[in-house]
Amino acid sequence: MLIPQENQLSFEKSGPGRRGVKLPASRFCKKKPLERIPDLFKRAKNLEFPEMTEPEIVRHFVNLSRKNFSIDTHFYPLGSCSMKYNPKINEWAASLENFAWVHPLQPESSVQGILQIFYELEKDLLSITGMDRFTLQPAAGAHGELTGMMLVRACHAARGQGKRRKVLVPDSSHGTNPASAALLGYHVLELKSNSRGRVDVRALEEHLDEETACLMLTNPNTLGLFEEDILEITKRVHQKGALLYYDGANLNALLGIARPGDMGFDIVHLNLHKTFSTPHGGGGPGSGPVGVKKHLSPFLPFPLVEKQAEKYRLVENQKESIGRVKSFYGNTGMLIRAFVYIRTLGLSGLRQVSENAILNANYLKEKLKKFFPVAVDEPCMHEFVLAAREAKKADIHAADIGKRLLDYGIHAPTVHFPLVVEEALMIEPTESESKETLDHFVEALAEIAQEIRQDPEKVRQAPHTLPVRRPDEVLAARKPVLSYRDQVRERILLAEGISS
């Protein structure tokens, strides 16, 4: 594969006098508006943007794109990220002029189609999760978590339970859970998992008290294991007057199979960019709708969508609402994609998503455990974790194995997470992959396992086939160069013989 090696910035390709667009030449005002305002308001410094023509710019970016791994080009078994295929019909729909060019402040009567999608998508998500009401506003999973924790706070405050300032999370939880709780000033306490990687009900019992606001759980957890005691857990948490928060990052295992609402969760966030196939875009935009049980719905952010007399309406009259969490109504474009996905798959298709995701994961786990031990060797859900403990003796870490996989044209699994497993390789194949792809992945890991014994240096130094190898992250953090202007400044300092 010929990957472009060239790495000049657009700024460095700039040629004075070149331009990439042509704008209207005509001006309607007799006197230039810039001459009608005081100098005080004007930009003094020239805008030092690149000067390039359209063909140069297109080649620049297309060649950049070729340096990426992506779902459309590679297998991406990244645990807890559900890197599944993003159907093109979703993109087609979201880019229709009748959705893409609707202004958020148009009169309500002129946006009935979008409101209908909001309304129907909410109903679908309610049924899939077993909750009573959803807000579609949050822009990503972590934003959903923050919204969810605001709901926890508002609910306890309304019950006169403001003293509840403690949030429990398992030690296998995603980093966003403690970070979201801490952002609202909650004291976060980590629960140690039991030997089978699950919540230890006794440890939970010890930490549950009158000051506990909430338990945040991912189920199946980040080891890909279903919390068998979930009904006992939710019962005990509720008995102490605390709430249960469901991190929906791993919902891809449960479509049509089990519902967080039935398990006893009070609040749920979903990552539409995981389970519901909206593209990851190199790190967003996502969408993180939040669902709640009835007793929490008065606190949901406004506006909500209601249907009254065959008209869809945006309603803002909830007195106890926590308020708005996103300008306008959320990441509409992502909501449309998720809606199309659910309509395309229907209930039978959604069930098949989870069944095939679970089947693929168990198949891989069975095949791979010959080479690397499984953290907890039990039937898994949609993902599982291998522990590359043995490789460590050869001074090879999980991250090295991930990097060596890149040479096989396979994206690295999630590495060194969850933190409870030493040298973790967290693998989520998703339902989008064929048995042939999985078998190829098994062969690649088998070869790497052999290399670890016979040619460890090759693994330690990987990858060998990509445009760069092992960027120096320590240097990047010690002497941050974060923009072209930093580069220029650096060069000037160097020229003057001064080291920054």
Partner: protein, 445 residues
């Protein structure tokens, strides 16, 4: 299922290899009472049916393309070069994950680095992050940063800042020990200097301004930097990014943090999202900036390379001690903005800013001639301004409906004292005849 390659044969073979009889055996960890719930979802549709359904639903929406629209208020109809959409549509960008594996993500990483570089130029500040959810949430994060940085608990915000942004600030702050105080604006829509000065005290962590503000007016921020810094507070400024190609930058005003809505930089309206929160700051705040930062470094062979950096600020490393909980951001929107700004280039950006002003000033002059309507002709604006109307906005809106004109946004719901006033935006997308016919239609209202 056409998105899932597994056949019945594959399934049987895999079950055999796993060593179970049926799929159900793999669910043994799930209590039986929970398994296979009743779910109400419509039957699957073929792609032909989906296309026709979505077209049908789409027709229930009017758009700014089939109407003549003068609606702004934080989301603007701007020109998007076809090449920008094509570049962003490259599926290698579209379907990639967050660039945690730098070797497999140099494309996304370099593009984000270029985005940061362009935003640094545009805002006149030292550092830009890789994006935030939207203008409003990046403003709330900036306010939280200021409280933590100064160890103070009060944020001042101009009432002329976008009402949604203030509302979100309130939502975020109500859940924290910090508080927000607002200062008003005068008859011309400029923030109230005396009121601001009165509220500024030793508890103030930062003050937030927006220019052009929600009423379209450019704020005179001369001296604000001195007032705030001598009080030990930070200066947070939100600006329409395209305006900064011609108008004074946050850096030039002396702001510590620039936040705002990047939607005007090549992103379609999409009924409010996905958009792009930009976030830039001075070097002094570099280790407190929320969200992702891409840095330039060298690889093991001494070649130029890009990677995520200063990750010790972030949740996946620091967990409850992180600078913010943000994880997924709006990377693809940042990439679109990067392609847009590169295409517009040095001259194009400045011209686009000038054309926006040209269209807005022309329209304002036209409306000022209309009997009954009034504007503030001396107010410095960018592409939006307030019109005082002889009758309630709803009547204007209804009167123009048959002509397929969206006249703007009524201001009374946001500012109850602003009876019969509405906000009109005119961007580079409008022709002279668009503007003339709008003015003529208003005359007949």
């Amino acid at each position: 299922m056409h998105y899932q390659p597994m056949t019945e044969n594959d399934k049987q073979e895999m079950l055999k290899q796993i060593g179970v009889v049926s799929f159900e055996d793999l669910l043994e960890g799930i209590p039986t009472v929970l398994r296979h719930p009743q779910i109400q979802i419509p039957e699957p549709l073929s792609e032909i049916e989906v296309q026709s359904l979505l077209r049908k639903i789409g027709f229930q929406n009017a758009t700014v393309k089939d109407h003549l629209s003068f609606i702004g208020g934080g989301s603007y109809e701007h020109f998007i070069p076809a090449a920008a959409a094509q570049i962003a549509g490259r599926q290698e960008f579209y379907t990639a994950y967050t660039p945690y594996q730098p070797e497999a993500s140099q494309g996304t990483l370099q593009a984000l680095y270029e985005y940061q570089s362009l935003m640094v130029e545009l805002t006149g500040l030292d550092v830009s992050n890789g994006s935030h959810y939207d203008g409003a949430t990046s403003m709330a994060e900036a306010a939280l940063l200021a409280c933590r940085h100064t160890e103070r608990n009060k944020i001042l915000v101009a009432r002329s800042v976008h009402p949604h942004y203030r509302s979100i600030l309130k939502t975020y702050f109500e859940a924290t020990p910090y508080r927000v105080q607002e200062f008003g604006f005068d008859q011309d829509g400029a923030f109230h200097r005396e009121e601001f000065a009165r509220l500024l005290d030793s508890e103030t962590a930062a003050a937030i301004f927006q220019t052009p503000n929600f009423l379209g007016r450019l704020e005179d921020l001369d001296g604000i930097e001195k007032d705030l810094h001598s009080a030990g507070a930070l200066f947070i400024l939100s600006a329409h990014p395209l305006s900064l190609a011609a108008l004074k930058t946050p850096g030039e005003w002396g702001a510590d943090i620039a936040v705002g809505e990047g939607q005007p930089l090549g992103i379609p309206l999409s009924f409010g999202g996905p958009y792009l929160g930009y976030f830039a700051a001075t070097k002094a705040l570099i280790r407190r900036i929320p969200g992702r930062l891409v840095g330039m470094t060298k690889d093991a062979e001494g070649r130029r390379a890009f990677c995520l950096t200063l990750q010790a600020r972030e949740q996946h490393i620091r967990r409850e001690r992180a600078a913010s909980n943000i994880c997924t951001n709006q990377a693809l929107c940042a990439l679109i903005a990067c392609a847009y700004m590169t295409l517009m280039g040095k001259e194009g950006m400045r011209e686009a800013a000038e054309i926006n002003m040209d269209r807005a000033y022309y329209l304002r002059d036209r409306i000022s001639e209309l009997p009954g309507f009034s504007v503030s002709p001396k107010n410095p604006v960018f592409n939006e301004f307030v019109v005082q109307s002889p009758k309630p906005f709803s009547e204007i809106e209804n009167a123009l409906k048959p002509q397929k004109i969206f006249p703007g946004i009524g201001l009374e719901p946001f500012y109850p004292e602003m009876k019969n006033a509405f906000l009109v935006a005119a961007t580079e997308t409008k022709t002279q005849s668009d503007l003339d016919s709008f003015a003529e239609a208003l005359r007949k209202c």
